[in-house]
């Protein structure tokens, strides 16, 4: 590994050089900040305030629920492929899984996540 030492040295040196360059610029460069310059995106749009139109939060709620259940259901596919090999054990396990999923669904339903108004 000792032959990697030059690489380490190179790494350190290049970091140093970069750091020194930045530091020198910081030390000697003129600083005339204006309000615009200090913004995260100079000559861009102001990043504060509502950037986009308002969206009803329900969209997100529905989207999140969809993704959740969608992904959970994907687990059925590999299970189905090896279903015969798993036998009763696999069946019961998947029943449990589906049951838990159902409970989550009932919870979401009961909490009103599926109601639009």
């Amino acid at each position: 590994m000792s032959e990697y030492l030059p690489l380490v040295v190179l790494f350190i040196l290049s970091t140093l050089v970069a750091a020194i360059a930045v530091a020198l610029g910081h030390l000697f460069g003129p600083r005339r900040p204006t309000e615009r310059k200090l913004q995260p995106y100079e000559s861009g749009m102001t990043p504060f305030g509502p950037g986009t139109r308002r969206m009803p939060v329900r969209f997100y709620l529905v989207a999140v629920l969809f993704i959740l259940f969608d992904i959970e259901v994907v687990f059925f596919i590999p299970w189905a492929v090896v279903y015969r090999k798993l036998g009763l054990f696999g069946f019961v396990e998947m029943l449990l899984f589906a049951g838990i999923l159902e409970i989550a669904f009932v919870y979401a339903w009961k909490k009103g996540a599926l109601e639009w108004e």
Binding site: M1, S2, E3, Y4, P6, L7, V8, P40, Y41, G44, M45, P47, F48, G49, P50, G51, T52
Partner: protein, 709 residues
């Protein structure tokens, strides 16, 4: 082990070899650091002195080689050692590299001295005194890079020098970066040279990588030692290496098809043209092939390809030179043509003639370029004289190009010294006995006549054109009557300029003595290196002098000169009386051919249409469609910025308010002692926390790297 490492047969100065790198480095450092406070003469003196000392070291190496012709390698440093890869850097001292050192530092020293006066005029006439120092720093840097190139003991270090001289070339072509067409012409010329060379360098790199793949080393000794084994196993591999290498050579030595940068490179100051673009850097390709001759020896296909590339370049460029009006452009195409001769020679296995021509060419082409610089400055002085007379008025001289031969004429009387040295250089180039160029060119032609009669014929035609365009140039510049007021008021250059010219003229006259037929001093000298490579047979053949060939080539040259005299001195003079703007007599008689030649076969335009424009269009497409539309508009604006904006709103408000709350609650009032310092890291910004985690990981990984090795 500084002095006189004693060996069996006596003391040598090999150990001093690293000084060839040290002196230019010192020179450039001194000028870089203190140059701002030194007067011009001191700057130039330091730079020239550095190169002069380098030359002295090279002489010592030469003397040592007389007693130890086998040479040596002076190890400097282990450059890169990673795993299996071990690249050390040493100084190769043998007859070949020392020949190059002598040429580079010797001619380089003269050109440095010349530049002291030449660049003084530049500063006086064009302003900005700081340029003077810049010029000499670059110039020394070039010598350093060139020395690195020729003294390298492996291909990778050679490549470092190769790139280094390319960089200096770029810097010096664009030396007057604010001048030229539209104020950027010179900068564009520099760009062109650099980009074209990059294409060639790419070939070099491919060659180097292939070589490392096949031989497992970059060292000359190791590579050449294995050539025979590898050639039996994988001949295509070596063929690939040599052809890739040839691509590199066509770039650096301005051969077909990559020669296009060299004429444009004349935008640089004339000493640059003389040193870099005529005498030394452009011959690096010839050196490379000579150095790699054990490789080329086992692949005849590559050799003949090299020979053909060189021969065609020689002929092609010589024809273009006939129809140029810029005094330096003529010389530039002449250089390309002469480089073609050299490349053809080494391609035919005639390494000694090739190197011999390299040396003599360095003498007379440097002489020609420097003299042309003297001419240009003479005309410029005339121009200022004229302007002085017409003070206040807008004189016609303003638009006059001091490099255009149509504006010259009759300078023989105004600049006698320059005329005589120019004449010597031209005759040497044309190959008139007994000047240097005759002997070296004759050897090449002789070899070609043995090797392939087609090559011989083409080269002879090229030689004819060479003599012709030189005759044309001499007559246009120095004979007849002045065709402009500036030419009429031109004046001779100062001593500092003419003395190097005279020395170079002497060398151009007697340079042929190096390798006179029958004695072959240079051949025997090089033989030690070009012959003494283990496992390669017949590196050098010393051709006998052939009266027949010599007579033919002399006859061709004389014929061309006489023809030139008839056309330009006799006919041209009569024409000139009628037409005010000068017209080339050939243009009148053979206008279509002449305009093809003036426009350089439209190769530039062809490259532009075939390569540059499609490439630019592609870039524009990438920039506008891919970068702007897709990357910026869609991905950046639509996806990233909007996403980030939402995140910022989410983050900024709680953090901002959190901090303000914190201050209001007096959280910050209790800062005390060292503990307070640590607390400063607790900024409240998630990114800083993540950074801390990251630093922790880096620290742990760094520790593990040390533990695990």
């Amino acid at each position: 082990m500084l002095f006189g490492e004693t060996t069996t047969t006596g003391p040598t100065f090999f150990a001093l070899a690293p000084l060839v790198l040290l002196f230019p480095l010192l020179g450039l450092l001194i000028n870089l650091i203190w140059g701002g406070r030194l007067p011009e003469k001191a700057i130039g003196g330091i730079a020239s002195g550095a190169v002069g000392l380098t030359f002295g070291v090279a002489i010592l190496q030469m003397l040592s080689l007389f007693s130890h012709p086998e040479g040596t390698v002076i190890p400097l440093v282990d450059w890169i050692t990673i795993g299996e890869l071990n690249i050390s850097w040493g100084i190769q001292v043998d007859t070949l590299s020392v020949t190059m050192m002598l040429v580079v530092s010797g001619v380089g020293c003269l050109i440095h001295i010349y530049a002291i006066a030449y660049m003084h005029d530049d500063v006086r006439l064009n302003g900005d005194p700081a340029r003077y120092r810049r010029f000499f720093v670059f110039f020394n840097l070039f010598i350093l890079a060139m020395m690195t190139l020729v003294s390298a003991d492996n291909y990778l270090m050679l490549f470092v020098g190769w790139e280094g001289v390319g960089l200096c070339s770029y810097l010096l072509i664009g030396f007057w970066y604010d001048k030229g067409k539209d104020g950027i012409g010179n900068a564009l010329a520099g760009n062109k040279a650099f980009i074209t060379n990059r294409i060639g360098d790419f070939g070099f790199l491919l060659a180097a990588f292939t070589m490392f793949g096949l031989f497992g080393s970059f060292d000359f000794d190791q590579v050449f030692g294995q050539v025979e084994q590898v050639a039996e196993l994988l001949p295509t591999g070596i063929l690939l290496i040599t052809i890739f290498m040839l691509i590199g050579v066509t770039g650096k030595s301005a051969q077909l098809p990559l020669y296009v940068w060299l004429p444009d490179a004349m935008a640089g100051p004339t000493p640059v043209s003389a040193l870099i673009h005529a005498a030394t850097m452009v011959t690096a390709g010839v050196y490379l092939i000579t150095r790699s001759h054990p490789l080329y020896a086992v692949v005849p296909q590559a050799q003949s390809l090299v020979a053909w590339v060189g021969t065609l370049t020689a002929l092609f460029a010589a024809t273009i030179a006939i129809a140029q009006f810029d005094i330096k452009k003529v010389l530039a195409y002449s250089t390309i043509s002469q480089l073609g001769f050299m490349v053809a020679a080494v391609g035919m296995g005639a390494y000694v003639p090739g190197m011999f021509h390299l040396v003599t060419h360095a003498f007379f082409k440097a002489l020609l370029f420097l003299s042309s610089g003297s001419v240009i400055q003479g005309v410029e002085r005339g121009l200022h004289e004229v302007e002085h007379h017409h003070k206040g008025k807008h004189s016609a001289g303003h638009h006059l190009d001091p490099q255009d031969m149509r504006n010259m004429g009759g300078l023989r009387e105004r600049m006698p010294t320059t005329f005589w040295v120019y004449l010597i250089g031209a005759l040497a180039l044309a190959g008139i006995m007994p000047l240097a160029g005759f002997w070296s060119k004759d050897e090449i032609l002789l070899k070609a006549s043995y090797k392939d009669v087609r090559l011989y014929t083409l080269l002879s035609i090229a030689a004819f054109f060479t003599a012709f365009y030189m005759a044309r140039q001499i007559i246009l510049v120095f004979f007849g009557k002045p065709r402009s007021e500036a030419a009429a008021y031109a004046s001779e250059s100062p001593k500092l300029i003419t003395i190097p010219l005279i020395i170079l003229a002497v060398l151009s006259v007697f340079g042929g003595a190096l390798n006179l037929p029958g004695i072959h001093a240079f051949g025997h000298w090089l033989e030690h290196t070009v012959h003494h490579v283990p496992g390669v047979k017949g590196g050098v053949e010393l051709p006998e002098f052939s009266l027949q060939v010599a007579a033919i080539s002399t006859g061709i040259a004389l014929l061309a000169i006489i023809l030139g005299w008839l056309i330009y001195a006799r006919w041209g003079e009569t024409l000139q009386k009628e037409k005010k703007p000068y017209v080339d007599p050939l243009e009148l008689t053979a206008k279509p051919i002449f305009s093809v030649l003036t426009n350089k076969y439209w190769v530039d335009e062809l490259y532009w249409a075939l390569l540059v424009n499609p490439y630019k269009a592609f870039s524009r497409w990438l920039a506008e469609q891919v970068d702007w539309r897709f990357w910026h508009d869609w991905l950046h604006d639509a996806v990233l910025v909007n996403g980030f904006k939402r995140l910022t709103v989410l983050l900024a408000q709680p953090i901002d308010l959190g901090i303000i709350d914190g201050i209001a609650n007096g959280l910050a009032t209790l800062i005390q002692g060292g503990a307070a310092y640590l607390r400063r890291f607790q900024t409240g910004y998630v990114r800083n926390y993540a950074l801390a985690v990251f630093f922790g990981v880096v620290a742990i990984m760094s520790y593990l790297i040390f533990v695990l090795r």
